[in-house]
Symmetry: C2
């Protein structure tokens, strides 16, 4: 584990700093906005640019993988050690839309370095985080004197993450034989803040449903009929009101089946984070925190399943009034899931519960979107400990642990490949993902390089 | 009361049948659609036509009253009896929009007589019902040999009823000294059906409010924040769910204060009506009846106050899903009020209740539209009995009693003038108000003429 001395890695990184930043800037200049068809060619150019750069880095195998949408990039650098474990790195080369007039101080696709930061769309999400792997693996080889990495290193960098990864799972399933791995490293998240390096240990899963209730065949007069027939808007409201109990727990029977409860040590680790509720509320743009009784705010968003109304609607919503009983009403509810919950089972209990809420004389239609599984790596997993060690060496600090409240395609990799997912995300909340003036802190970018330089040795030892 | 023998009235009416129908057809040809600015000139033409016709009928005073919108017509025929009571007839000369392509078999503004019916926009709502008063008062004079009516007869025929009567209350308040009356006759409703002549005894009032709840400053990510901040869509649903108790009663403290309970005789009279729930449900386009426990369907819509959601909305309502906690949500609720309820007091208790439902960390804005009072004439009121007697003589049948679940400008007349409101509506549900192929049954039209021919003598005696 000391085959990549910290100081040697740092020196190597320093020496290649300028060329590395020039290359990243060149990539950021390609506006690979997957959501905007006008940029389809740019997304392809971005994939080709990355593929060429990975080849130049030394990957013997670099391929562009087509999908029905935007292309992904695959690269493979087999280890020279026949017993080496295999690690797959996930990231994405597409970016969010951006335009100067959205509030950018400079052209989002003409990166500039100012005050130790590089500004540009994709600087943090996710080109910067994908790119630190290229210099990282070269540093790993340079300071160890190896000709191939200590692990069989694979990269899968998709091109549709900012469009909801519509073809990602199918791609992974189709190419599963090429993607086999003992561990997956996802570099598309962040850490707590500039002075608190952290490793994320899991993400919540997601089940989404839409419930439509049908009352009268058409809107009817609330004077002539009001008080004497079921009102679907009232019915949908009662259904939503029944979602939670007085303690803020989801009141659907069976919803909590299998939920992995937080251990004392996980709660203790969360509590070590410098959490300030007032600051968090500013980020949440909310006036107060509330939720399931018996859990802290961080526990609620990271480790507890939820039911949130994303949208509700029915009847007249315009200016003024319209005295009708609406013909129909709907609600869209998303359930965040945690380790131990099975999305199929959740859909079953939600459906059964919702059907039981529908009053007589009201019709219903319940539909579910494809679900995303939760993923969670136990704190004592050797691969997770290896990631924390590599990061600790780069930062020279104790590494704390977080989770993500959101859900992502990482779960698909865990699902299809059957490998644990580790999150190596070196970005901070102020980086402005999806916002104007997205940037990456250059110091952190090079901490990312150093972390990955240490990581392959750490993982090879941990997974052996 | 026998100064207008039934047979003499019938003979007089028969003799003037053709000219009366020709005149009504001429009026229906004027497309006085108040909701469509292109017809502003037609609404004025309609007022002028009616004013001239009332003058020709014999009214010594006919005036066109301007409003900020469409003009109303006022007419006055003082009685020759110095002790005669004063009666004000209300109706409207504007009509709903209509176009051949909406499903009319013939031009809506080119009336035709077919199978004992006159088809045309306004035939029943409300030109036909206004117009039977013109022949009615002439029959009253002809068969009694009087030169002036047995009551001081006033007519106020507005031009904006189909546009929500935006200027009506102000007009009544401004002209209150010209409109003083001992009773108001509203001819703008209907009766139970072709074979069941009825008198409506009241309408419900209306209080409308919009409640907007505010959560995060903008939509926020339901993964990053879900489960830990208040969701305004959930809050609005809980508020709506708290509107009613398990018995379908409105659960707002103080809401039922003052409500005039149905008497046993009123319930018995309602029960005499040939009500068939399956038929009623077809009209309501609903699958089942439901509402306040302990009341029949007719009692629920006619005699009980209600709270109905007219619209609810918040967050994402489009196709697919969007994983947000919405920034705001709203609900529009209309309360139908019955005799004994004070709309100001209802607004107060609704506001207090709604504010108490808003959870911590959620902002709110509650607004009320101008309210409409309920109106109800007691069954034993002499003027109501006079209307029923006049109608009974025309129909040769027992007259039953109904109410209206809706709300209307009649309440403004009751309010401002302090006079009881009686409903003389001779139209049937099949007349197609606001629908294509609106028609009036000629037999019923002439029953209206006969009823009004008897009415002034009956009322003069009853109110003396």
């Amino acid at each position: 584990m000391s085959d990549t001395p910290d100081s040697a890695v740092r020196t190597y990184t320093e020496q290649h700093r300028t060329a590395f930043l020039d290359d990243l800037a060149a990539w950021l200049r390609i506006p690979s906005v997957s959501a905007q068809p006008v940029h389809d060619g740019d997304v392809r150019r971005s994939a080709e640019w990355l593929s060429a750069k990975l080849e130049e880095t030394g990957f013997p195998v670099t391929e562009i993988w087509e999908t029905p949408g935007a292309p992904a990039v695959f690269a493979h650098w087999p280890s020279d050690d026949p017993d080496a474990p295999t690690v797959l790195v996930y990231g994405h080369h597409d970016v969010q839309p951006a335009a100067r007039e959205d509030g950018w101080d400079t052209d989002p696709f003409e990166p500039v370095i100012r005050d130790g930061r590089m500004y540009g769309r994709g600087a943090a999400d996710d080109k910067g985080q994908v790119f630190f792997h290229t210099l990282g693996v070269r540093a790993h080889l340079a300071v160890t004197g190896r000709t191939a990495p200590a692990v069989n290193l694979k990269l899968l960098i998709e091109g549709e993450e900012e469009s909801g990864s519509p073809n990602f799972r199918a791609l992974v399933e189709e190419r599963a034989d090429r993607l086999t791995a003992d561990a997956v490293i996802v570099s598309d998240t962040g850490m707590w803040d500039e002075s608190t390096p952290t490793v994320c240990t899991g993400m919540r899963g997601l089940a989404e449903c839409e419930i439509e209730l049908h009352g009268p065949e058409q809107d009817i007069h609330s004077g002539s009929f009001g008080g004497a027939v079921p009102n679907p808007a009232t019915a949908v409201a009662r259904l939503v009101a029944a979602l939670h109990d007085a303690d803020g727990r989801v009141a659907i029977p069976g919803f909590y089946d299998g939920v992995a409860e937080l251990t004392d040590s996980e709660r203790a680790l969360f509590a070590e984070l410098p959490f300030d509720e007032a600051t968090w509320l500013r980020t949440a743009k909310s006036r107060s925190a509330s939720g399931e009784a018996g859990y802290s705010t961080l526990e609620r968003v990271w480790a507890r399943p939820t039911a949130e109304v994303n949208g509700i609607g029915g009847g007249y919503q315009g200016a003024g009034s319209k005295t009708i009983i609406p013909s129909s009403a709907l609600v869209k509810i998303s359930f965040r899931l945690v380790a131990g919950q099975d999305p199929d089972r959740v859909q079953q209990v939600v459906r059964a519960w919702a059907e039981a809420q529908v009053p007589a004389g009201v019709g219903h239609r319940i539909t579910f979107a494809p679900a995303t599984r939760p993923c969670l790596t136990p704190l004592d997993h050797p691969a997770l400990q290896a990631v924390a060690r590599a990061m600790g060496r780069a930062f020279g600090q104790k590494i704390l642990f977080t989770r993500e409240g959101g859900s992502g395609p990482a779960a698909d990799l865990q699902d299809v490949l059957g490998a644990p997912v580790l999150f190596l995300g070196i970005s901070v909340p102020s980086d402005g993902w999806h916002a104007p003036n997205e940037k990456v802190e250059l110091d952190l970018l090079f901490k990312g390089v150093e972390t990955t330089a240490h990581l392959w040795g750490e993982l090879a030892a941990a997974l052996r």
